[in-house]
């Protein structure tokens, strides 16, 4: 059966599909092309965004490192992303356990509630927090920023760890109890290891999502709490030199590292392939 299926796929792969192929090539060009040009421009010796680049130099990497708001922004971004990821998991994983193993009435309502922040446009969420918490209640910018990012990541934490919990056989836990393990031992010896890939996936996904976020970070920036993407955005809006291209190359390299880590942890396509479904 699997043999004949494999053969069926061989046949289809061989059939030429010119229209589909042209569209697919266009899709990859649009997704990847501009990023490649950014890399080229980052190494220019000239002082404007020109293509082809005028000569080769690393001067824009130096300029980026010397520009205070980028370094501050990087630090803020890392702190916020790490903090929000940890809090979202610390809050989300117990909630996931309660949702899936708690036998509570209205389970799906609770689950949808935990997934709901993702439904609201990020700018709208940001506005609500800005208006009500920062301006209305006078909470500090960094505090609200952290709350906002945590809310943004909570749905990922609940959904991704929940997915690995549904895949796991609930009989595993019952078997552990039957073999004489108490509830606490069962949790740490059975449930948590089962959840580990889900938690790892949610952590990587959450960190990346928070780090890259613009709308929340933009609306919730106080003095000195601009994140790196916001600092980059504001830089691009005011000047036209290639320093942001250099920062982009650094971020691109970091993303490749994250992708490799993700591949090692759980599988890259597994972690990020679930976003659209």
């Amino acid at each position: 059966m699997s043999q004949s299926a494999a053969r069926a796929r061989v046949r289809l792969a061989r059939e030429r599909r010119p229209v589909l192929t042209v569209l697919a090539v266009a899709a990859y060009l649009i997704m990847i092309g501009p990023v490649i040009f950014v890399v080229a421009v980052a190494f220019t010796a000239g002082s404007t965004i020109t293509f082809p680049p005028e000569g080769f130099s690393l001067r824009w990497f130096g300029a980026a490192a010397d520009y205070g708001p980028f370094l501050d922004g990087l630090w803020t971004s890392l702190l916020v992303a790490a903090g929000a990821t940890v809090i979202a998991l610390a809050v989300g994983v117990p909630a996931t356990l309660a949702i899936h193993r708690g036998r509570l009435p209205g389970r799906s309502v609770i689950q949808n509630l935990f997934l709901s922040p993702i439904v609201l446009p990020e700018l709208v969420l940001g506005l609500a927090l800005y208006q009500q918490l920062m301006v209305g209640l006078g909470v500090t910018a960094s505090g609200v920023l952290l709350v906002g990012h945590t809310l943004l990541l909570l749905p990922y934490a609940v959904r991704v760890t929940g997915a690995s919990l549904t895949l796991a056989d609930p009989a595993l836990e019952e078997a552990a109890r039957g073999l004489g393990a108490g509830p606490v031992t069962t949790f740490f010896r059975v449930t948590l290891p089962v959840l580990r890939p889900g938690i790892a996936a949610a952590a990587v996904l959450g960190f990346v999502t928070s780090f890259n976020n613009v709308p929340l970070s933009l609306l919730l920036q106080g003095s000195g709490t601009a994140t790196l993407p916001v600092a980059m955005l504001q830089y691009v809006q005011t000047s036209y030199d290639p320093v942001v291209a250099a920062v982009s190359v650094v971020l691109l390299a970091a993303s490749v590292v994250v992708a490799v880590i993700a591949e090692r942890l759980v599988g890259f396509n597994k972690i990020f392939g679930g976003i659209g479904s």
Partner: protein
């Protein structure tokens, strides 16, 4: 797990959602700071009769729909070829399609400044090939915004169509062909109806993202291509018009929900017929 323990495990999350999300969201509608009661409703009414705002709403809807259509048109073929590929490189191609999701929107959109800028790739290519001496304005056009948003959201469509398509048995296509259906008839009568759920999910995500995006429209469209998101930012952070910002937030949310509801309804209708 006892019910009491379950409630204890849920409590921190519920508290965060209640005080960090639900209350602020509701309060934003009824009670923005320094605003008389019901002012948000009044502003909303004004906006819906203001030609300038209506133009912005229409542009936001139009860009969202065009981006969604283009993403489906380009993303579905990628998803199909990946789902049916037996090449050992197909996993890598899939990863390449997903990888841009890791990259900041600022970085991805910045690429279009390099491509579409006045001394950018496209302008140089046009003059270099002698097609024109004075390249047309490429940035700050609706097309530029669409291009940037398509780049941003293609991975979402690819991923959701891919998961739909890879669940469709190849032999259904074989069966259709054997029964006399051409390739395009097979696509229309078998593949599309079966891939519809994934495509609808993908399309809904894309529309919601494209119609509410900020980074890309502000960099590639600027004030010449005002969208609701830009207007929201203006009200909340430039002119500090809280009621106006809340009203725009409502417009944006309703727009997204209306289109999501319509596409879910259309998708279901298509599948059950």
């Amino acid at each position: 797990m006892s019910r009491r323990n379950a409630v204890l495990l849920l409590a921190p999350g519920l508290a965060l959602l209640l005080f960090g999300f639900l209350l602020p969201s509701v309060m934003m509608l009824f009670h923005p700071p320094d605003t008389p009661p019901l002012d948000v409703g009044r502003r909303l009414g004004e906006m819906l009769t203001d030609p300038f705002m209506l133009k912005i709403i229409w542009r936001t809807l139009r860009i969202g729909l065009i981006v969604t259509a283009v993403c489906l048109l380009l993303g579905f073929p990628v998803a199909y070829l990946l789902a049916r590929s037996t090449s050992r490189w197909s996993g890598l191609w899939l990863a390449l399609a997903i990888f841009p999701l890791l990259l900041s929107n600022v970085v991805r959109t910045y690429g279009w400044l390099v491509v579409l800028g006045s001394k950018g790739v496209l302008a140089q290519a046009l003059t270099g090939l002698g097609i024109t001496d004075h390249p047309p304005q490429l940035l700050y056009t609706e097309a530029a915004v669409v291009a940037g948003l398509v780049q941003l959201f293609l991975p979402l469509v690819i991923v959701s169509c891919y998961s739909s398509l890879s669940g469709i048995d190849v032999r259904l296509e074989d069966a259709a062909r054997g029964l006399g259906a051409s390739r395009s008839a097979t696509l229309r009568l078998v593949l599309l109806p079966l891939a519809m759920p994934g495509a609808v999910v993908g399309a809904t995500l894309v529309f919601a993202g494209a119609a509410t995006a900020y980074t890309t429209p502000v960099l590639l469209g600027g004030t010449r291509q005002m969208m609701l998101s830009l207007q929201l930012y203006n009200y909340s952070s430039v002119t500090i018009d809280w009621a106006g910002a809340s009203a725009v937030a409502i417009l944006m949310t309703v727009l997204v929900f209306a289109v999501a509801g319509a596409s879910a309804w259309a998708g279901r209708k298509r599948v059950t017929v």
